[in-house]
Symmetry: none
Subunit: 203 residues, 4 copies
């Protein structure tokens, strides 16, 4: 009899896969490495996810579902756009803190050699970006489309810059750090974007 805390093989593969992919990069990790770590048979990756790329798709799906839900939730709040952005940053940072591996993999893996997965990610990503831009537009007057194409991604990138550099800089990422990070990014972005409406340019 399996105990209550027992995690299913399917889930173990996803979690361990995300962890290894986050550490070493998708294509540098073998399925055998993942399943060994998960304590299941090699063939279970194909059995459950239809293969290594299917596992990556499952990870991406998980991430974009989680972040999409947050964006939608924040969108629906009855608060100012600025507050929404702060709230969005905070909630996304919390989610990232709780799902570091899945997030890092979803953000950084660009499997251009697997078109199917590549297009899949592209689609999910664009949906996310669009929803975020909709929040910005509630208050800020971002007419120029080319700016939109810069500001939206820039925001997204700021958010995840932590992921980007924690890999390289090996910073400690406790909950206090995440909070500080969220605040700083919100300040930086809100002040930055506010400046667009000012006449006088800095420098």
């Amino acid at each position: 009899m399996k105990g209550r805390l027992e995690v299913s093989p399917r889930e173990r593969i996803l979690q361990n896969g995300a962890e290894l992919f986050a550490q070493k990069g998708f294509s540098a990790v073998g399925v055998r490495e993942v399943t060994d770590k998960a304590g299941v048979n090699v063939s279970m990756t194909s059995y459950y996810y239809g293969g290594k790329s299917g596992l990556l798709k499952a990870i991406l799906t998980d991430f974009f579902k989680k972040s999409g839900d947050i964006i939608k939730e924040v969108s629906g709040l009855n608060i100012s756009a600025d507050k929404k952005i702060r709230e969005l940053v905070k909630k996304l940072m919390e989610m990232m803190m709780a799902n570091q591996n899945i997030c890092r993999v979803s953000i950084f893996e660009m499997p251009f050699d697997i078109p199917e997965v590549s297009e899949f990610k592209e689609q999910l990503f664009k949906e996310n970006i669009k929803m975020i831009l909709d929040i910005f537009k509630e208050k800020y007057n971002i007419r120029d489309e080319s700016v939109q194409l810069i500001v939206g991604p820039a925001f997204y990138n700021l958010l995840f810059s932590h992921c980007f550099f924690s890999n390289i800089l090996h910073q400690d990422t406790d909950s206090k750090y995440y909070k500080k990070f969220a605040d700083t990014i919100s300040d930086l972005f809100l002040n930055g974007i506010a400046g667009f409406n000012n006449k006088k340019k800095i420098a």
Copy 2:
């Protein structure tokens, strides 16, 4: 007969390698693919660069040399810190525009499965970040170290967010776009960082 414009086999490998790595990711590209494209023999990669990872190291070296030179140059200018930042963004963008493949590869490839290259990149990257932070400190009062660890990378990330998303969003990246991008990022960042010194918070 080799003309004046003839590029050496060694250089052809690097350029074609950077192009393919940028398109498909380092580990998704085989040396054979690179050398075929470059029109040289397979074994020349090992011959010139000591192997595939050696080629990546050479690309990284090239990029960090180029960006380091720009940072140093701008650092030495006798202008305000704000203007230095604008100049830095402008110059780096120009460099990226001229060396898209090498830049993208250098920024996005995280070869954690090859510790030697991974550490190599980490070292070069940290040197760059440090030099940039020194410019910020000239004027802005960024006391809190954890903020430093956020703002520096955030700036770096903003700069390269273009790379990140051009892969996914397939934007046109002509020289006009680059200029607009540089301006927007400079505005965003300078306004954002200026806000840190303001008492009143937005939102």
Copy 3:
């Protein structure tokens, strides 16, 4: 509720197995493919037939039983040897028409990698050939054993040449075709074998 026309799972596996084996070859078909097509659980192949090779043995048994019965029946008829041969060809063709998949599989699969099945088929096959040769010997004087070893198989092969080529030539195989085929083969063979007793050689 199972109706009268319902076919048992066991039989469904055999029929669908024969069909797929006939189309794609024994080793190119997986048990999962067979059971999916049959609408039963994967493990039923092992359950009913003791495994994939057991299923093949069952198909072979079915075929050699059917053809053996025909040969015995024709042998016992009180007609001339020539007529027996015509009748044999006709009856076998009818049986093949009604059991195309089982016949094709039984004739063409040579599972040398599964000695048990290979020997099983060899034994059944030799019994068939022997019974056919006995019919020939009733009238024709085929003394030379090496000729026996040629003529018997040649007859058998002529009979099944239709199977052999229908795979490649994609002929229509309606009942009219089968009748024409049976007649032609009978003519060819009876004329051919009759010639053995003639002195003068053709050509």
Copy 4:
């Protein structure tokens, strides 16, 4: 320095592949088994033939080239059609004796699970059959197309019935056997086909 009798790795793979495929069937043989027997590295199969199916295609090409050359040569002879047929049988049997493995593989392997190879064989096969039928038509009056579709293949099948049964019957196949076989088949076929022109039917 390699001796004069040394066979190239490429050729060793083909010969040993043909031998193993002939014995155990194409899909029952692993590439590793072939290359081990050939004394070369596993990857050479892909290197030279582009994979296991490429090796099969090479074997087929070899066979159909050899048999096609013979058919063309005999076609061009200035002798009666009957003599051409006898000569054809004799020459093909000689070729088969000298290339037993390649012939058996080419005749019996029907790789329907590899459409590319399947179609490749189909095309080569049809070309062969067509050339043979042209010889028949020189003298014999085979008007009915459906008979053509039977007689041509039947001849082909008679020829190769030896292959078919030597697998099962384990006959000795020395040069004396081959000669006897060629004679018997020629007699059988020429008498059989001659009978088509006779009014009276046997039986």
